[in-house]
């Protein structure tokens, strides 16, 4: 597959995930696609209602594109093994996202791969419902 961005791989994905429905509509994101971002963390904000990561990702011409990645709240990230210092500016990371439909450099989080190979995801935003859909 020809890459639109160096370090960004577009993958057609069949499985959906539970919508992140809290602050804003999840409909902006294309849940059928994944983009793999390989770059350097510019900022990581551990906060409610949403945690977010900004990643500088070089494109095929070497131009750095700033991607915004939207995550759920720390309430659910903690349950998936995250801490406020899991990543910090300057870290080399791989982040897999469902991109916004317009091609703008933004997406909703699916998976983080740290430089040491550890992988982190997030838990669906559900509490009190063991068999939640």
């Amino acid at each position: 597959m020809r890459k639109a961005l160096l370090g960004c791989m577009l993958v057609v994905m069949l499985a959906g995930i539970a919508p992140l429905l809290a602050h804003h509509s999840p409909a902006a994101f294309d849940r059928t696609k994944e983009v793999t971002l390989k770059g350097t963390v510019k900022d990581f904000r551990w906060q409610n209602p949403h945690t977010w990561i900004e990643v500088n990702v070089p494109d095929e011409k070497g131009k750095v594109v700033l991607w915004g990645v939207e995550l759920t709240s720390p309430t659910y990230l903690i349950r998936a093994g995250w801490k406020s210092n899991t990543i910090k500016p300057g870290d080399q990371v791989t982040v897999i996202v469902n991109p916004v439909r317009t091609g703008e450099p933004a997406g909703i989080f699916r998976k983080l791969i740290l430089a040491d190979g550890r992988e982190l995801t997030e838990r669906p935003a559900r509490l009190g419902t063991p068999n939640a859909k």
């Binding site: 539970a18 919508p19 992140l20 429905l21 809290a22 602050h23 804003h24 509509s25 409909a27 902006a28 994101f29 294309d30 900022d43 904000r45 409610n48 209602p49 949403h50 977010w52 900004e54 915004g68 939207e70 709240s73 720390p74 309430t75 916004v100 439909r101 317009t102 703008e104 450099p105 933004a106 909703i108 935003a125 559900r126 509490l127 009190g128 419902t129 068999n131 939640a132 859909k133």
Partner: protein, 284 residues
């Protein structure tokens, strides 16, 4: 504004807890007030002024023991569907004023766009959607009221149980969660809510946008079921500006004992870092 609302909400819950505690353990102060409404406490409210739900004299009034206590954290039950947060389908027959929004949101959804996501732009979700956000609703019940604070933007909702009537229409301050008055009917708490804001207020979203107007009237029949592990709320909603007849929906909520709500604010810089909220997919 959001942070001040948040602080207020937290303060109210703290005050409610303290008041409930005081109610259970502390004798009423000597009476100095005017009439039966203030008997047993000081200082008194001005004559004709509704005593606060947190006034010791109000809390101390003799009342029948309520059939259940809502105090706890409650989260919409999504066991049967991830779409349980919606109050439709089925939807009632919409008026032309609502249909135009519904159709526009369906068109936007088909095109991969998002129609008027006011909640995403930091407007309050409002009732009824605030009850089914994917965040717990913390509830603290005292004899005179139930204080609800959503884990979503710390949205505050107060259900008064002290027998007060609704505020007169010419002085009511309209809000997104409205003014709620609760009365006990057997094993059911019946909550009547009016006084809504009619702008940037939606009954549904995501391809089914239906506005909520100032005539919105919501009656909730709340029962505690499954040994206190679940709430069942039967919603009956009318708003002649936007739909015909009664819109009914029944929701279940699960008790959450392993998480507390936190301070959550829609700060001015939030959406600067959530690019999807400012993306070209957003249809205003």
């Amino acid at each position: 504004m959001s942070s001040s609302v948040s602080r207020f909400a937290v303060a109210m819950v703290t005050a409610a807890s303290m008041a409930a505690s005081a109610c259970n353990t502390t004798p009423a102060a000597p009476a100095t007030g005017s009439g039966p409404a203030t008997e047993g406490a000081a200082p008194a409210a001005e004559p004709g002024v509704q005593l606060s739900a947190l006034a010791p004299a109000n809390i101390a009034k003799p009342r029948p023991k309520p059939p259940f206590e809502l105090t706890g954290n409650w989260f919409i039950d999504t066991t049967e569907s991830a779409e349980a947060w919606r109050f439709g389908p089925p939807y009632p027959k919409l008026t032309a004023a609502a249909q135009v929004h519904f159709d526009a949101s369906q068109k936007a959804a088909k095109e991969g766009n998002v129609y008027r996501d006011d909640i995403g732009q930091c407007w309050p979700a409002g009732l009824p959607l605030i009850m089914t956000r994917y965040w717990p609703m913390a509830m603290v019940q005292i004899p005179t009221a139930i204080y609800m604070v959503s884990g979503f933007m710390n949205s505050l909702r107060i259900v008064y149980l002290d027998g007060r009537p609704h505020t007169e229409p010419d002085i009511i301050v309209r809000t997104y969660n409205g003014e709620s008055i609760g009365t006990w009917e057997g094993d059911t708490l019946v909550v009547d809510t009016i006084g809504f804001r009619g702008d940037h207020h939606w009954m549904d979203q995501g391809g089914a946008s239906i506005p909520a107007g100032e005539q919105l009237h919501i009656v909730e029949r709340i029962r505690m079921i499954n040994g206190g592990k679940q709430l069942e709320i039967e919603y009956t909603m009318t708003d002649p500006e936007y739909w015909e007849g009664e819109w009914k929906s029944t929701k279940r909520f699960n008790r959450v004992d392993d998480a507390d709500i936190q301070e959550v604010s829609c700060l001015p810089d939030l959406n600067e870092h959530l690019q999807s909220t400012t993306s070209k997919v957003q249809v205003r």
